[in-house]
């Protein structure tokens, strides 16, 4: 019998969990020594974007800090489903205080570490969009203003989910929530309101601001690790679809996050000291309908009492984001070095050069089937 070499078809892919990659190309999640900071057995819904995002983010933070991490959690889904007394999913030092004070508590933890000379211990604060953009906004701004050495991660599922899907200032226009019902002349959440937390964070001039989604988990890990290499106030705004609150299929969480990015509804970028330093380009632009239609919270915009006018306004928002952040090739923002830095940082996410027929089908596969 001849010697037959076995071809490893998986070796070259950048599937996020791929353990067959070279060690330095593996994601934190792919590594056997990952922290499992939030362990299995928690009570999140099937398909919860926040549970997925938290696992990646905190494990990446633990990897970068050699396990020297203290996490401060605001009240919300993540805290509730992870610590049903007498159990806890957390394998890191973790504290939950109140709904509105996670940034301030984190400031206190960081101050304690500093005064005790334990400079190797890092602090991460985390909360949902409700605690970050509304009730905890004052404390967040205070922490930014003092440039306290805290990385704050906001898990944005665009409403107060744990209390039954009420509107927050991160809820997008037209979305149905329990307090923005799809009735009246402007069904769902009204236009012209809302806060853009990443931009507000940038306005504070803090060392690092980034947005990310659970559709680009390597990108998320990269950004967390990048942030953890820095000191001072840092902010990551993570887009995490919520199947229950959005009325999407639990198997669609990653796909919905991708559509949010590919439509331009959620710009993915990095900024330092108030200036955008890099964006994740849209690979295959989709009209906002493709993003909105699978979500029951937008169902009232379609069907019998369709509102194409509102859909058009939403499209306008997406288009404005694309222009503003240069999310499409050919719509670059001012800095030409941007494209280069983007390529250098995300080699696996390069938009494919024109005319590469052989990879056309692979690209289709990525976009349509949602495989990263």
């Amino acid at each position: 019998m001849g010697f037959q070499p076995v071809k490893f078809y998986q070796t070259g892919t950048f599937t996020v969990g791929n353990r067959l990659l070279a060690a330095d190309e593996r994601s934190v999640q792919a590594g056997q020594t990952r922290s499992n900071s939030i362990n299995s057995g928690h009570r999140a819904c099937q398909g919860c974007g926040e549970a997925l995002g938290a696992r990646y983010a905190i494990d990446a933070a633990m990897a970068e800090s050699n396990g020297q991490l203290i996490a401060v959690n605001a009240t919300g889904c993540l805290e509730v489903f992870s610590t049903p007394y007498p159990e806890s999913s957390w394998q890191v030092a973790w504290i939950h205080s109140l709904f509105g004070n996670a940034p301030a508590v984190a400031t206190g933890v960081a101050a304690a570490m500093k005064v005790k000379g334990r400079t190797e211990v890092r602090v991460v604060a985390q909360g949902g969009d409700g605690s970050t953009t509304d009730i905890g906004f004052g404390c967040l701004s205070g922490m930014f203003e003092r440039n306290d050495d805290v990385l704050y991660i906001c898990y944005d599922n665009e409403a107060y989910m744990n209390t039954g899907v009420q509107r927050s200032s991160a809820t997008p226009p037209a979305a149905r929530t329990a307090t923005t019902m799809p009735v009246g002349s402007e069904p769902g959440n009204v236009f012209g309101q809302g806060k853009n937390l990443p931009e507000i964070a940038m306005a504070h001039g803090i060392p690092y601001v980034a947005t990310a989604t659970v559709a680009d988990l390597r990108d998320l890990e990269y950004k967390v690790r990048r942030a953890m290499k820095m000191h001072g106030a840092r902010y990551i705004h993570l887009f995490v679809p919520c199947p229950l609150g959005w009325g999407t299929a639990s198997s669609d969480t990653i796909r919905m996050a991708r559509l949010a990015k590919e439509s331009g509804m959620f710009p993915v970028f990095e900024a330092e000291h108030g200036e955008v330093t890099g964006v994740l380009k849209i690979r295959h632009k989709v009209p906002v309908e493709e993003y909105l239609k699978p979500q029951k919270r937008f169902a009232h915009l379609f069907g019998t009492h369709a509102r194409p006018d509102m859909v058009a306004r939403i499209q306008a928002i997406a288009d404005r984001n694309i222009r503003k952040y240069g999310l499409l090739n050919g719509h670059e923002i001012d800095d030409p070095a941007d494209d280069e830095t983007c390529h250098a940082r995300f080699p696996h996410l390069n938009p494919l050069p024109e005319g590469e027929e052989a990879n056309e089908s692979l690209r289709e596969f990525h976009v349509n089937e949602g495989v990263n």
Partner: protein
């Protein structure tokens, strides 16, 4: 070392001697001088190692203290009135989490109407939060109580408020003996937490506790305050041994041994009461004073023991249970249940109205003859009050109360010569 200094400055020096590691505070009258004093000491390096954080609100102040304390640092903050209410959620959170934070409350009235002067409504609004509450009679006692407070809080793993009358004590210059660093170090060992955030030994703090365990957790907080009833006098005795003076404890009696009438109060007003009582004693009246220092835990047994041989008592308090009467009076009544003692309440000094010896003489005279209603409002302008009530009876839209009363009081005009 003996000094003639402002109360706030003395307290700042006392705090510094306790080696706090994290200080965070938001400015509010009348606590500002305490925090300013500490801030300067940290900035100059006189107080080190210490992190001083300028926070954006009182809610942030208590939250920063929570984080710092949970991570094992000795933490301190100060506030008053509106600030205490603004941090109320965090106040309960701190005690629920068992964190030994020390906080000075420079007692001030709560609005509306806005009022920056002294009364006890702020501390008392948080009396059930699970914090211990000690009330200082003088600036010397304020200094001493802070030192005892850190020791007590850290032993029991429970936060504590040291209450001192805003302006009356904080802004008064008087003689204070500031202890030495050695003396304080001997009395107050380094902070050894019962639970701490540490990557080396990760724990989850702050889980959601359901009906199956919540009552037990709350009972244990209650039990801790029962332990404090024992520890407070012991720590005060130890303090006396080490520093040479009486400070703290649960209660302090003055001329009560043979007293037929006893006045009960908290804080700086005890000084004015004692001067009045001295004059009455000279005239042959059998009258005494019971000062309550530990308001939480409330020393039921000790209060009862002090009052049991008297005929009547009066609780003179700078607080009001709107719609009911006295707040401290209610606690005192609980202490004397079943004794048949005659108790009266006087609400006095709200919003900083001075409590004068002259008024107290009159009040105590009426008390001895038991010619007082159950609840008296000392030095109330009944004329203004009744006119306002009449106004409200006549017109539905009668306007804001405080502004309305000016109709009758008139405006003091300036005469320019």
């Amino acid at each position: 070392m003996l000094k003639q200094t402002e109360g706030s400055k003395a307290v700042a020096e006392a705090i510094a001697l306790c080696r706090p590691e994290v200080i965070c505070a938001y400015p509010i009258s009348p606590q500002t001088h305490i925090v300013e004093g500490l801030g300067e000491m940290v900035k100059s390096g006189e107080l080190a190692p210490c992190e001083f954080i300028n926070v954006e609100s009182e809610f942030a102040a208590m939250s920063v203290a929570i984080g710092a304390s949970a991570a094992g640092a000795r933490s301190y903050t100060a506030t008053a009135s509106q600030g205490l209410l603004f941090m109320a959620e965090a106040v309960y959170n701190a005690s629920g989490l068992g964190l030994p934070i020390v906080m000075t409350v420079a007692n001030r009235a709560i609005g509306a109407p806005i009022n920056i002067w002294n009364d006890h409504s702020d501390s008392l609004s948080q009396r059930d939060s699970g914090w211990m509450q000690l009330f200082a009679e003088t600036n010397q006692e304020a200094v001493d109580l802070h030192i005892q407070a850190f020791r007590l809080a850290e032993e029991l793993s429970m936060p504590i408020m040291v209450c001192m009358d805003g302006f009356i004590l904080t802004h008064a210059f008087e003689r204070v003996d500031i202890p030495s660093q050695q003396q304080v170090d001997a009395y107050l060992p380094p902070f050894e937490p019962r639970q701490v955030l540490d990557p080396a030994q990760p724990v989850s703090i702050g889980a959601m506790v359901g009906p199956e365990a919540f009552m037990e957790v709350r009972y244990l907080a209650h039990a801790k305050q029962m332990q404090a009833i024992e520890r407070i006098p012991q720590l005060a005795a130890e303090f006396k041994q080490a520093f040479g003076r009486d400070s703290g404890g649960l209660v302090r009696t003055y001329c009560t041994e043979d007293a037929e009438t006893i006045i009960i109060a908290m804080g700086s007003v005890l000084g004015t009461i004692k001067d009045t009582v001295d004059e009455m004693r000279l005239a042959g009246h059998k009258i005494g004073v019971l000062g309550i220092i530990s308001y939480r835990p409330f020393p039921l047994e000790q209060v009862r023991a002090a009052l049991i041989n008297s005929k009547r008592f009066l609780v003179l308090e700078k607080s009001l249970a709107v719609g009911m009467g006295g707040i401290v009076a209610t606690d005192v009544r609980m202490a004397v249940t079943g004794t048949g003692l005659k108790g009266f309440t006087a609400i006095a000094g709200l919003g900083g109205r001075p409590i004068t010896k002259a008024s107290l003489h009159k009040l105590f005279g009426q008390l001895e003859k038991e010619e007082l209603p159950p609840v008296t409002f000392l030095d109330l302008d009944w004329d203004a009050v009744n006119k306002q009530l009449e106004r409200e009876r006549q017109t539905r839209r009668s306007g804001p109360v405080a502004e309305n009363m000016l109709h009758d009081k008139g405006i003091i005009s300036a005469k320019f010569g």
